[in-house]
């Protein structure tokens, strides 16, 4: 239990997908223009993560590893992710058409969101870690908690960024720096602040 809580908070704050590993930057930069869409995309990403990482975990442990097919993991993982994304897309289109239209092209692009593929690949690495480590993933519950924490961390980051960008519209940024440039520098400063959490232990 303690391990689960520790893993959960670590994956939100210390191993944050955006601030520590830069995963999922593309959609992060493009969609974080206001808070509402940011939360929507964050929730969609979290959902896809929570479903795909445990599935990929089971595939890795029960199928790929015993058969010695680990080198096929890239293709298998991406197939699971692409399939899941298709389902999420259909569900969102059915139940929340307004969110569907505001997310636009970025919904199908969750499939190529590095944060999701990244979480599966990190999970694959963490299986081989020392069980005493706070990053160790040893069973399906660990995988689910890790996925959920990473998703929340991503959502937290994109929501904060959306809020900052809403405010930033009123500030006087040098012209060549407007848009992308200043966004990068802001994310850099946020990442520096997030570094305060490194070494966090519960």
């Amino acid at each position: 239990m303690e391990h689960l809580i520790n893993l959960f908070f670590r994956s939100i704050f210390v191993d944050n997908m955006i601030f520590a590993f830069f995963l999922g930057m593309c959609s992060f930069l493009a969609v974080s223009k206001n808070v509402k869409t940011s939360i929507g995309l964050g929730a969609a990403v979290t959902f896809v993560l929570v479903v795909t990482v445990p599935v990929d975990y089971l595939l890795q442990v029960h199928v790929l590893e015993p058969l010695g097919l680990s080198y096929l993991s890239f293709i298998l993982f991406i197939a699971v992710i692409a399939g899941m994304t298709q389902i999420v897309e259909m569900v969102v289109e059915r139940y929340s058409p307004s969110l569907y239209s505001s997310l636009g092209i970025f919904l199908p692009l969750i499939a190529v969101n590095c944060a999701i593929m990244g979480a599966s690949l990190f999970m694959q690495q963490r299986i081989n870690l020392d069980p005493a480590s706070s990053q160790y993933i040893g069973n399906v519950w660990d995988a689910i908690v890790y996925a959920f924490g990473s998703g929340l961390g991503w959502m937290l980051a994109i929501t904060l960024m959306g809020a900052i960008r809403e405010k930033m519209q009123y500030s006087d940024v040098p012209k060549p720096l407007q848009g992308l440039g200043i966004t990068f520098i802001t994310v850099g400063l946020m990442a520096m602040a997030m570094m305060c959490f490194s070494g966090l232990k519960i």
């Binding site: 590095c114 990244g118 720096l177």
Partner: protein, 205 residues
Amino acid sequence: MGLFSKQNKQVLAKPLSLDNPIMVQVLGICSALAVTSQLKPAIVMGLAVTVITAFSNVIISIIRKSIPMRIRIIVQLVVVAALVTIVSQILKAFAYDVSVQLSVYVGLIITNCILMGRLEAFAMMNKPWPSFLDGIGNGLGYAMILIIVGFVRELFGRGTLLGFQVLPDSYVGNGMMTMPAMALILLGCIIWVHRAYFYKEEESK
């Protein structure tokens, strides 16, 4: 149309300056930042992405007429994933230390938006040869930024380049440069310079 007609040359050269995949099209940021704390992994990563972009562009361009529109993303992903698996195995065999340094980021080339972006925007509509050049051009444009960021970060963070001591021993490494945050800020500054330089051309468009 010759192999290196004017149009083809432009396809190759444009991503290097005006239409850079990272700075203008905002593609492939994720891996661009994570592998640049030293120069060597940055170079290897740049080369790997160039090769994969070029070949996946060619393959998709050859089969572009027989891909059903609805499932094209999955087809593209499978082609890219197969190429990435090959490159990752080659790296493990011939450059093991670099592949350890790159860790998950080799696998993440699959989800690198440059690949998908170029496949969707160029290879689906063009013949194999221009697609190949487009892949090479975009890959090199990407590699260029990686190398600039990697150069600055390794030089000021450790005082070395490719592992060789460049700055005098008395130079104390600036730990800040090796932190992830600094990569973002550096990239922000590169974009700033790039936009300031090409600003007039953008205005006149």
